[in-house]
């Protein structure tokens, strides 16, 4: 008797994200966008598994002198349209990214030009040496130039709209999955690309449904009823707890991001270092971490040692993590030039992230013990990102989750602390410190990993002295998943990618049915 | 002699309200012989309309009403009839015409539809075409010149006088033996009202219909009724044949009422009390006109 192979039973992977996935790879920024991008498109390099760094992907090999990078491309890659992938497409993809100026295009701000040396060779020229460039390429998905050119929408200039209209609903990639349908309010349905140049393993899902905007309670029930496979990482810890208790597996992604409580250093009273230090010591780190604990082993947060999460290049050792110390806090407060009775802190939290409300309340309670009054303010994201553009409008305290978009420390803390980057949602501290600036700039140009690690460690220390931020915890993305699916990249440390989101490469997942 | 078409004896009516019991009728008696036209006259609120509605059995179903006394229709005690039997009488053996013809016809259906419905009461299962034929004939009877057009009209498209005629035609369509007319046409013009009365008089005479005619207008009553009852605050105070009563009113209230009507012959306005103890004087009965079943 031959075992009945489920030839007809196609496997479906169902997962969800809170935000709507952006199909246009030139505009991708957040987690949902990344999931789409990593599966529909390919990049020249891939993040290494089990440690930092990158490995070849579309590019077989590369050479660099710090300012120019030359890549040799594989010749066996075809787009889903059937068009071959060539150096022209790489150039086009970079040009498009820069022309749109959206998403993560800032990562390529210092790329002067890209040129196709021959169909299989592409050369990038930077304006100045920029060592994180290779990891930035993780964010340069290669777009099918021919297909896009055939589908240009209305617009000015040669490239009209650069295919924005087309790419917001269609794919033009070479990735392992094709887009079947895309409804921004419902789901994006993807199916495996049989012609993928690396092949798609048989155990990988045939169809993937990435659902958007499901309520936590809905996801919880769908999983319990066996109608969903992987949750987003944004579920409240209680829900994850309930799911785990119900037999779901917990998938964890670490090392890419942190939860930061940011203090506006330009306004009374947090322009005073002592005041900031007082708050730094008043915050109850243990309670904060406990709040997001899910099981004894798994938590959405682990104690932070500094600005860089553990495991990232240049992260401070775990022993340097903060703990609450009320006496110290009182000491610092006594030295502060403002008296607690003279001010009221605005503790803001972003409306879209309900968890932050609890931290606001925790802080409020913690600070009250120092005699500091505060009021909690919920701000929708749109308003928040608007307010932080002016120091005087920026709340005293803001809470943000920041991740390293390329896995490189530069992309995590340059945008947060370099004085030239002040006034974005990442940098509501408005930190202006020459030493920090100098260290961050140096980190960009040094080429050896050891040197860079030392530089970032030093930057971390300096930042802790300046205390612009309460480093609440290193964020771990925790996903609850049904037993139907295995995600080695999220369960096996040695297979973990050094870039958040890349673990959701569907072709590396396994359906167990 | 056969039983009178309608016989009411010692009818009492009270309404329960939060202020206690409100006595409206204090035991009235009246009767109408077959083909007789009897009027019930009295001031506003004296209990004329409720009497009519009791006869039709409309008050009995109100939860707040308490009715006692005898109401006999063609010799049958209404109280002893089942709800079903009482129901069956309405619209077939007895029917009613209301004061304001336009608001008494349903505004959202054509006359034809409503007429059909009425005819169905008398002849269940009557077809639309047959109903229409009979309606046309009935409208002809009430001197409507374009019955077809009227049938296809809605009440608001017709004048008050036309609606009044339609109502009369409907009320007589099933040849009832009792027609109750509650202040018919007082909502209309003087001239139209006069025409209406003449018409009703002719038709009921022709069909030998007994009529209970309710009005507060003595002039109208004089022209229409054979006999009349005067009611004052829920009590019948005087009754008798129309001519006799108008010539020789005996009850103080009747006298006052008659006196108060301005005359087209002039003579000014007399000084009369609009309320007086004397009006509560006991019922004046004329010889030969007592209520059946009672001494007299």
């Amino acid at each position: 008797v031959v075992a009945v192979t489920p030839a007809a039973a196609e496997t479906v992977l169902r997962l969800d994200e809170v935000a709507v996935g952006e199909l246009d790879p030139g505009k991708a920024t957040d987690y949902a966008d990344s999931i789409l991008m990593f599966n529909i498109y390919d990049t020249l390099v891939l993040a290494a598994q089990g440690g930092p760094g990158v490995v070849p992907h579309l590019a077989e090999s590369w050479e660099t002198d710090g300012k120019t990078y030359t890549f040799k491309l594989r010749s066996d890659v075809k787009f889903q349209s059937g068009n071959p992938l060539t150096a022209e497409d790489v150039v086009f993809s970079l040009d498009r990214m820069k022309a749109l100026g959206q998403g993560l295009s800032y990562l390529f701000a210092n790329v002067e030009k890209a040129e196709a040396v021959d169909p299989a060779t592409v050369r990038f020229t930077l304006t100045s040496p920029y060592s994180p460039f290779l990891s930035a390429l993780l964010r340069l998905p290669i777009v099918d130039k021919k297909l896009v050119s055939e589908n240009l929408g209305a617009g000015d200039g040669d490239m009209k709209d650069w295919g924005q209209g087309y790419l917001s609903t269609h794919a033009a990639g070479s990735g392992a999955y094709k887009v079947v349908s895309h409804n921004p309010q419902e789901e994006t349905v993807m199916a495996r690309n049989a012609d993928y140049f690396l092949g798609v393993p048989a155990k990988a899902p045939d169809t993937v449904r990435l659902r958007y905007g499901l309520e936590a309670a809905t996801v919880r029930t769908l999983i319990a009823q066996g109608e969903h496979d992987i949750t987003s990482q944004w579920l409240p810890p209680e829900v994850l707890k309930a799911l785990a208790a119900g037999g779901a597996q917990l998938l964890v992604e670490t090392g890419g991001s942190g939860f930061y409580i940011k203090m506006n250093t330009t306004r009374k009273p947090l322009d005073d270092l002592n005041c900031r230090l007082a708050l730094t010591y008043a915050f109850d780190y243990a309670a904060g971490v406990k709040m997001v604990a899910i099981t004894d082993e798994v938590s959405q947060g682990s104690p932070a040692s500094g600005p860089l999460p553990a495991g990232m290049l240049g992260a401070l050792p775990a022993s340097e993590a903060y703990a609450r110390d009320l006496d110290k806090a009182k000491e610092y407060l006594a030295q502060c030039k403002y008296k607690p009775e003279d001010f009221t802190l605005e503790l803001s939290w972003v409306g879209e992230v309900p968890l932050e409300e609890r931290y606001a309340l925790l802080m409020q309670a913690n600070f009250t013990e120092l005699g500091i009054k505060s009021e909690v303010r919920k701000i929708p994201w749109a308003l928040f990102s608007e307010q932080v553009t002016k120091p005087e409008n920026t709340p005293n305290i803001s809470q943000v989750f920041v991740n390293a978009v390329t896995g490189d420390p530069d992309t995590l803390i340059y945008g947060m602390y370099h004085s030239s980057a002040a006034g974005t949602w990442q940098s509501p501290e408005y930190l202006k410190d020459a030493k920090v600036d100098e260290l961050l700039d140096r980190g960009r140009t040094e080429t050896s990993d050891e040197q860079r690690a030392a530089t970032y460690t030093e930057a971390g220390k300096r930042l802790k002295e300046l205390a612009p931020t309460i480093f609440a915890y290193d964020q771990n993305a925790v996903f609850a998943a049904s037993k139907r699916v295995s995600v080695p990249a999220l369960t096996d440390r040695s297979k973990a990618f050094g870039l958040t989101g890349m673990a959701f490469t569907f072709r590396l997942m396994e359906m167990n049915e | 002699m056969s039983a009178p078409t309608l016989l009411i004896r010692d009818l009492k009516l009270g309404f329960r309200s939060y202020a206690g019991m409100l006595e409206v009728l204090h035991g009235i008696s009246l009767h109408i012989a077959k083909g007789e036209r009897v009027a019930l006259v009295g001031e506003s609120g004296s209990g004329k309309s409720v009497t009519a509605r009791i006869v039709l059995g409309l008050i009995q179903s109100l939860r707040s009403a308490r009715v006692s006394g005898l109401v006999e229709f063609e010799g049958r005690d209404l109280a002893k009839l089942s709800e079903r039997e009482r129901h069956a009488l309405r619209g077939t053996r007895m029917s009613m015409i209301f004061q304001d013809p336009t608001s008494s016809l349903n505004p959202v259906y054509t006359i034809a539809t409503q007429f059909h419905e009425v005819l169905l009461r008398g002849s269940p299962g009557i077809s639309q075409a047959e109903a229409r034929r009979r309606a046309v004939a009935a409208l002809d009877d009430v001197a409507i010149s374009e019955p077809e057009r009227v049938l296809d009209s809605y009440p608001f498209q017709l004048s008050g006088g036309m609606n009044q005629r339609v109502m009369i035609a409907m009320a007589l369509a099933n040849e009832p033996s009792l027609l109750i007319a509650d202040e018919p046409g007082t909502a209309l013009d003087v001239t139209v009202q006069a025409q209406t009365l003449t018409l009703m008089r002719d038709l009921t005479e022709r069909h030998h219909t007994a009529v209970l005619f309710i009005s507060h207008n003595l002039g109208v009553v004089r022209e229409f009724a054979d006999r009349l009852y005067v009611i004052y605050k829920g009590r019948i105070v005087e009754q008798g044949p129309t001519a006799a009563l108008f010539d020789d009113p005996r009850h103080p209230y009747t006298r006052a009422l008659l006196q108060a009507v301005p005359r087209i012959t002039g003579g000014g306005i007399p000084e009369i009390e609009d309320a007086s103890e004397a009006y509560f004087a006991p019922l004046v009965v004329r010889e030969g006109f007592g209520e059946p079943g009672r001494a007299g």
Binding site: E386 | G91, V108
Partner: protein
């Protein structure tokens, strides 16, 4: 039937004026209040030049009156701009999401009529009896909680604790229905897939009922009170005097005239569902326009806000025109009146 045509023309004219007013109001609300749409559009990392360029492209640097002019001329071409939320033309979004909302609202409306009106009639016919009191109690409860509370309660009871109904979406994943009208209940039938139709119907029950509950309550209460009033009318007494059966009087003689005053308000209630759908769609992950509306409002996605509000109020106005026509249909006085309206 000429008066009806005239009535229709007049109502549509007024609606258009109102719609222009709505566009001005919503445009003003969206633009006058501080906040830079260009910055939000470009995301947190955009440079000042990029923002300035986009501002210029969106005419945001011009006086509001000029902006409004641009808006109107774009609107005339059916262009509502691009949503910052989905990065697609707002028109595309609306076209994709409106049917889901309409389907939900229409089914709710149907429930409101099929459940609410009979309850109201029953209540009026047996007024002050225990039936009446029971119906009044239940319908009042229905209107006493917002749709989202009902949505949550129904979901808790009938999807979580008693898993009788699905908790999210419009149809199960296993069905692939080629889109035709966007109304799944229709598309499934077009596709000839009865099981899919059943599945879609099964999905819509809870959200539609949650949305309909207050409408059912309102309709029943309204019909009751108007019918009670109608019962006092002389023509009811006349009908009674002809001995028409009580049921017939209720249904034919009292109900229909009493619908004339009721309909306007029932229409408003029905139209209000478009607004309340916001809450229910959020709870049931219903991919409709209202959920889109919430998302874009929270993101201050101006084009999408304006587009959504305009469409919703246009729907609202259309519903009201339809109601006016219905009233004209019921009320011959309007149908035949020389003076329309």
């Amino acid at each position: 039937m000429l008066p009806v045509v005239r009535l229709l023309a007049k109502r549509l004219g007024t609606s258009l004026i109102v719609l222009i007013g709505v566009s001005m109001l919503i445009f003003a609300i969206a633009r006058v209040i501080p906040g830079d749409p260009a910055r939000i559009a470009l995301g947190p990392n955009a440079s000042a030049e990029q923002i300035a360029a986009l501002r210029e492209r969106l005419h945001l640097d011009q006086p509001i009156v000029v902006q409004y002019g641009h808006f109107l001329s774009d609107l005339a071409r059916g262009d509502l701009g691009v949503s910052l939320y989905t990065n697609r033309p707002v028109m595309t979004d609306i076209a994709q999401f409106l049917p889901a909302t309409l389907e939900l609202v229409l089914v709710s409306g149907l429930m409101m009529v099929l459940i609410g009106l009979p309850l109201g009639i029953l209540s009026a016919r047996y007024r002050d009896s225990w039936i009446d009191n029971l119906i009044r109690l239940v319908t009042l409860l229905g209107v006493s909680a917002p749709a989202f509370v009902w949505a949550v309660i129904l979901m808790l009871l009938f999807a979580y604790f008693l898993p009788l109904f699905p908790i999210a979406g419009r149809i199960s994943d296993s069905f692939t229905i080629p889109p035709a009208t966007g109304f799944l209940l229709v598309d499934t039938l077009i596709a000839g897939n009865v099981r899919a139709f059943g599945n879609a119907a099964w999905h819509i029950v809870l959200p539609a009922f949650a949305l309909a509950l207050s409408g059912i309550g309102q309709a029943a209460r309204l019909v009751r009170s108007n019918m009670v009033e109608t019962y006092e009318k002389p023509y009811i007494e006349m009908a009674q005097s002809y001995g028409f059966p009580g049921r017939r009087i209720a249904r034919k003689y009292a109900f229909r005239p009493s619908m004339i005053p009721s309909l306007t308000i029932i229409g408003l209630d029905f139209a209000a569902m478009l607004g309340n759908a916001f809450l229910v769609e959020a709870v049931f992950a219903w991919p409709g326009l209202s959920r889109y509306g919430v998302a874009v409002i929270l993101r201050k996605d101006l084009n999408a806000i304006i587009g959504t509000v305009l469409i919703i109020s246009a729907m609202f106005l259309i519903v009201n025109v339809i109601v006016d026509l219905l009233i004209a249909f019921i009320n011959p006085r309007i149908r035949y009146s020389q003076r329309a309206g």
